[in-house]
């Protein structure tokens, strides 16, 4: 009985507080959502890796004898996700501008073929050991993006993988030009190798080696 007169006041208070509460709740929801709210580059990377992992988990594709099929599938998925031209160009580094346009074109075809073979093979072999992939945020600047992820193996070992992407020429998708595994950049590693090989032998020597490795 004593509480009764207080009730309207209470409800009044609640009423006036509601927008404030909502505002705060909204604010908190926003601050909570912000770090989790991934941008387009992350979404695109995530959809590609998720798609590849789903495809590979197909029961009909398991076992060593089905590996060629898995490799083919991964290669198809990789095709549009990578900026092959810029990746090849950056790997050749300072030697790129010394090549004729024909030589550059040939190098892109050969080297991207080699990369696809190597990495599709790797993915088609180790996909089974991936427990999950966490995305740790992204940075974008002037048409470029960096997406950081951590691949967690079934033995609970974490492998940090960073993708560096650029807007495709049409501006419709984000394409990978560099992959950094535990801080080691694919571009830098190949650039150092190519630099060394060209210095010790010649560009022709490198090309010969590259040709012998592409099927």
């Amino acid at each position: 009985m004593e509480m009764y007169p207080n009730l309207p006041i209470l409800s009044m208070r609640l009423f006036t507080m509601k927008p404030v509460v909502l505002l705060f709740a909204g604010f908190f929801a926003l601050t909570v959502a912000l770090p989790a709210m991934a941008g387009v580059p992350t979404d695109e990377m995530k959809s590609t890796t998720d798609h590849i992992l789903t495809l590979l988990s197909n029961p009909a594709l398991q076992g060593v004898d089905k590996k060629p099929e898995r490799v083919r599938m991964v290669k198809t998925e990789m095709e549009g996700r990578f900026a092959w031209n810029d990746c090849a160009r950056a790997c050749l580094g300072k030697h790129w501008s010394k090549r004729t346009p024909e030589e550059q074109k040939e190098f892109i075809v050969l080297f991207s073929g080699f990369l696809k073979d190597t990495y599709a093979d790797k993915i088609a072999t180790f996909y089974d050991n991936v427990a999950k992939i966490d995305y740790k945020g992204e940075k974008t600047m002037e048409g470029f993006a960096s997406v950081k992820s951590v691949i967690v193996s079934k033995e609970n070992v974490e492998h940090p993988v960073e993708y560096r992407l650029e807007k495709s020429t049409g501006g419709t998708t984000w394409q990978v030009y560099d992959v950094l595994i535990e801080g080691v950049s694919l571009i830098k590693n190949y650039r150092d190798q190519f630099d060394g090989i060209i210095a010790r032998s010649s560009y022709e020597g490198l090309l010969k080696d590259l040709k012998s490795r592409t099927k």
């Binding site: 160009r89 300072k94 501008s97 600047m141 609970n156 830098k188 590693n189 150092d192």
Partner: protein
């Protein structure tokens, strides 16, 4: 004023240098490569002992191909994967003093505390480190730290590249790091407590076990590279820079 001018000209010069660098890179401009160059010191690979290093690399390669790989393959065939993984965790658990001391040397009290908690938990409930309940049940993740990282943390440069026999890629600093970590590895003291051959056996067993879990890794590296020696050297320095950077990031 003079200082301001200097700063402006420095910025201008670095801009010019940046533009030049972009040009020699075949006009491919990677803003993140520039960003990371700011965040970590530019990696200068120094390899005055390249001839000797390449010879050691060849020796290690043959040792792996002819001895270690066949042995690890046979071992892998006989011992099931879960056992080998448990053994690997056990060898890692024993090396707790290495992580404890280096976490402390880097001023990471939390890291040292987590490592101590992990060691106590995994040595008891985890049956001597065969299992990792600390990570699985208590969310205590390993806090890796080594002496090479500690030396780098205090600004000591990596120095020249060094391929160590049987141990692989290292540097002048890395060799000290290896010696420091080795001194903190309890298995080293088996030769005092028991007999030397027991220590050799344990260390050999550790290498064999680890190799059996990573058999494909070296093969993938060799197939995916044009000069595996340069590839390893480049990756070694880049990875160590990243580790030292990570050590700084944790303290911040």
């Amino acid at each position: 004023m003079k200082r301001k001018l200097l700063a402006v000209s420095l910025v201008f010069l670095s801009g010019v240098a940046g533009a030049f660098a972009a040009q020699v890179d075949g006009d491919f401009h990677d803003p993140f490569a520039a960003d990371s160059a700011e965040g970590k010191p530019t990696i200068k690979v120094s390899d005055p002992l390249e001839k000797l290093n390449r010879a050691t690399y060849k020796f290690n390669d043959k040792f792996y191909e002819w001895l270690l790989k066949p042995a690890a393959k046979g071992y892998r065939f006989v011992v099931p994967t879960p056992v080998r993984e448990s053994l690997d965790r056990c060898f890692s658990n024993i090396k707790y003093p290495v992580r404890l001391v280096n976490n402390l040397l880097q001023g990471k009290v939390t890291g040292a505390a987590i490592e101590s908690g992990r060691f106590i938990c995994n040595s008891t409930i985890g049956l001597g480190g065969f299992f990792d309940p600390a990570a699985c049940k208590f969310k205590l993740k390993a806090q890796p730290a080594d002496f090479d990282q500690t030396l780098g943390f205090y600004g000591i440069p990596a120095g020249f590249y060094l391929t160590l026999p049987l141990l692989g890629p290292s540097s002048a600093r890395g060799a000290f790091g290896f010696a420091g970590d080795g001194a903190l590895n309890p298995t080293l003291y088996l030769n005092i407590a028991v007999v030397q051959y027991v220590q050799y056996g344990v260390s050999g067993g550790e290498v064999l076990n680890k190799t059996s879990l990573r058999l494909e890794e070296y093969d993938t590296l060799k197939n995916g590279t044009f000069d595996p020696y340069i590839a390893m050297r480049s990756a070694y320095f880049e990875h160590r820079v990243e580790m030292v950077k990570a050590a700084h990031d944790v303290v911040k």
